[in-house]
Amino acid sequence: MEIIILVLVVLSSTILGLFVFNSNPKSATNKIFLALSVLIAIWSIVIYLSLATSSRMMTLILVRLTTSIAVPLTGSFLLLMHTFPSDKLKMSRKEFFGLITLFVSTMLLTFSPFVFTNVKVVGSSFAPVAGPGMVAFAVAVNGAAIISVILLIRRFIKSKGIEKLQLNYLLIGFLVMISLIIITIFFPVALFQNISFVSYGPLYALIFLLTTSYAIVRHRFLDVRFIVARAVAYILLLLFIGLCYIAVLFNIAFFINERKSPFSTLSDLIIPTIVALLFALTFQPLRRFFEKITDKLFYKDHYESNDLLWDLSRSMASTLGLDQLCKGLLNILLSTIKINYGAVILVRKDVVIWASSTGSTSLKPLKSHEIANLIGLSYKPDKRNENILIFDEMGGESAMKQSMRDHGLTIVIPLIVRKELIGGLVLGEKSSGEIYSSEDVELLKIVAPEVAVAVRNALSYEEIKKFNITLEQEVKKATQRLRKANIRLKELDQLKDEFVSIASHELRTPMTAIKSYLWMAINKSPQKLQEPLKKYLDISYKSTERLIHLVNDMLTVSRIERNKIEIKKEPVNVIDVLSMVYEELKITATEKKINFVFEFEKGEKYIINADKDKIREVFQNLVGNALKFTPEGGKIELYGREKGKNIEISVSDTGPGILKEDQSKLFQKFSKIDYSYSSHPNQPGTGLGLYISKQIVSLHLGDIHVESDAGKGSIFTVTLPLLVADALKNE
């Protein structure tokens, strides 16, 4: 029974330890756990042997060994409680090595008579005799164990989340172990001197190891089923090897020893079995270790496909720049597979649009159309698996093969994105001179689509970048052109200003002479003028006047349109302005026998914020028009009324009126209104007066409009905002 428990405990704890360690060999917790498991296994063996041995001397040695192993066992337990579940020791190296030194010296001490002086014979078995240091030793070991338990409980209380769950497993395992020890070993031994359960002790320890290992691997998110399956396989393997070994050993010994059983005692069988199992256990790790060394020595080109794929993916994910991307992945490919030359070439419609190469080839450089041709040939849309050109596998002689030989190319792999050929990955020879292995080719086939997508993305990114730069340049150019045009326009505006003023000056000067001399001829002639000479001179004079008027109006229009007109606003009593206009034009009205009625009373006040001269021009123009169109005996009225915050001033006449369809055109520049329906078809004007008037009124925030019925006359009304509506009125 004991031997079964022993084997079970030794195997299970060793396997558990190794598996936990393997799940993350770098973790300190896992290392400590491995140590603990192995120590438990060794300890169990030593205890078993110490009970089984018949030699007195051997018993003493084994008892001392048992005690000695208890030290690192307790120590590793303490360390585990201190560290778990962290990957790093929670103490400095100094502290750690101090602890180790303490353990080792305590271990050495247990071999001295200080702890066990001797072994005495008690009945059929031996009992160790405790030395003077036994109590101290027991206190130290038990103290460490108690501290471990306190640590575990404290950590459990303070911990959170997944760590709490893990510590929970530990605690449960520990409590089960302790309670089983107390119930089945401590009480029976203390109360009944019954030691029948003592040999089960290691089994209880195994429970703790199980829960702890579960806590650790669960933390690593390893599938427990995997561990269990592997463990079962391992145990079966070990059992198989062990049994075979025993069978072979037994049979050989049986024949050598003249058909007598070679094993006098069970331990004679156990020890070689355990040794055999240890061989079996260490076989796998040792094999791997030596493989690595021999690989390094004899198989330098060997590389890990997974590592290479990982490196390539990482490199491709790290950049969007086409150049950087290609250089990066070529460097990795060339340095890992050891190739002397490599290039990524992008084609569009059989033309190379972009290329990046790394490494060197002494052979002649490839021409663009040749490489485009090769890449085109490498792509076989129907045969997905054969999308690769390998020089050594090309049968016969062809131009293509010759071209590859000339340029030292060994492999051409098309880069395909969504069935569209975007380019090729071109590789030279291996620097060792060897051919590409099937592993290399498979790997390249796996890599190619990934490279294709990455390159496509980088290319798009590059194109967008280029487009952006072009766009920016275009915008800059356009801005510059606009700026130049603007400067030119300003110059032109300046020139126009000068031109208009000089032109008007140059026109006015001779006109002044003509006008003045005509006036002199008409008014200061020594002889009385005879008809039709007087008539001719009158017409000339009037035409000159009209011309001067036109020049003045054009000058005004040009000022208005270039926003150069100066409006100097001040509070003005609009009645004063109107009476000035009335006084000025009353004479003409009288001459034309027109009844000109001024309907305001002197002393009335309507204050507006206005440029007096400009506003006067407006009414001069309106009344002037009325005078022009009103026939003899007609009537012109100048009147107004306050309306809300405005004053409305109207000029009405009894002229021919304006057709409805013409009324909207009236305030436009050079509006030519057809007066043929009226009895005054020939009324010359500049066609600018009403336009100017409207602009001036607008500059005063006012409005001008006309009401008219053809044949009944017109009413022009100007609305202007009053500065102060009521306070100043009738003051």
Binding site: S501, R508, T509, A513, S516, W519, M520, N523, E566
Partner: protein, 128 residues
């Protein structure tokens, strides 16, 4: 009235001969003492040398324009131009504004005045 005017002197600065002659003629017929200048430099000399009751000054002139004449006088003699009236055909608001700022009394656009109206204006300026 004629006697009053005889004591009054007027300077006409005008480069256009026909107008200069006409203005001189009508003003002298009214009894004013009239002197003329046909370009800027002569005008400046005359202004510096003599005093006039009224100076009718054109702006666009050969050699030195009207504004320069005014500025020159303003600089050297610190005079106010209370008896200067611009008589010009130039319709540029900024230049006229500049002249008004230098202290000239007023401005007339030549083409807008008949000889009769001009005389009336001159009379007004001299009276006040």
């Amino acid at each position: 009235m004629s006697n009053e005017k005889k004591n009054k002197s007027i300077l006409i600065v005008e480069d256009e001969q026909y107008l200069r002659d006409l203005y001189k003629q009508i003003l002298e017929e009214e009894g004013y003492m009239v002197e003329t200048a046909n370009e800027g430099e002569t005008a400046l000399e005359l202004i510096k040398k003599n005093t006039y009751d009224l100076k009718l000054l054109d702006i666009i002139l050969p050699k030195m324009d009207g504004i320069s004449i005014l500025e020159n006088i303003a600089k050297t003699e610190n005079k106010k131009f209370t008896n200067v009236v611009l008589l010009t055909n130039l319709g540029q608001d900024p230049i006229i504004a500049k002249a008004l700022n230098l202290g000239v009394r007023g401005y007339m656009i030549k083409s807008d005045y008949t000889p009769e109206e001009l005389l009336k204006e001159v009379e007004n300026y001299i009276k006040n």
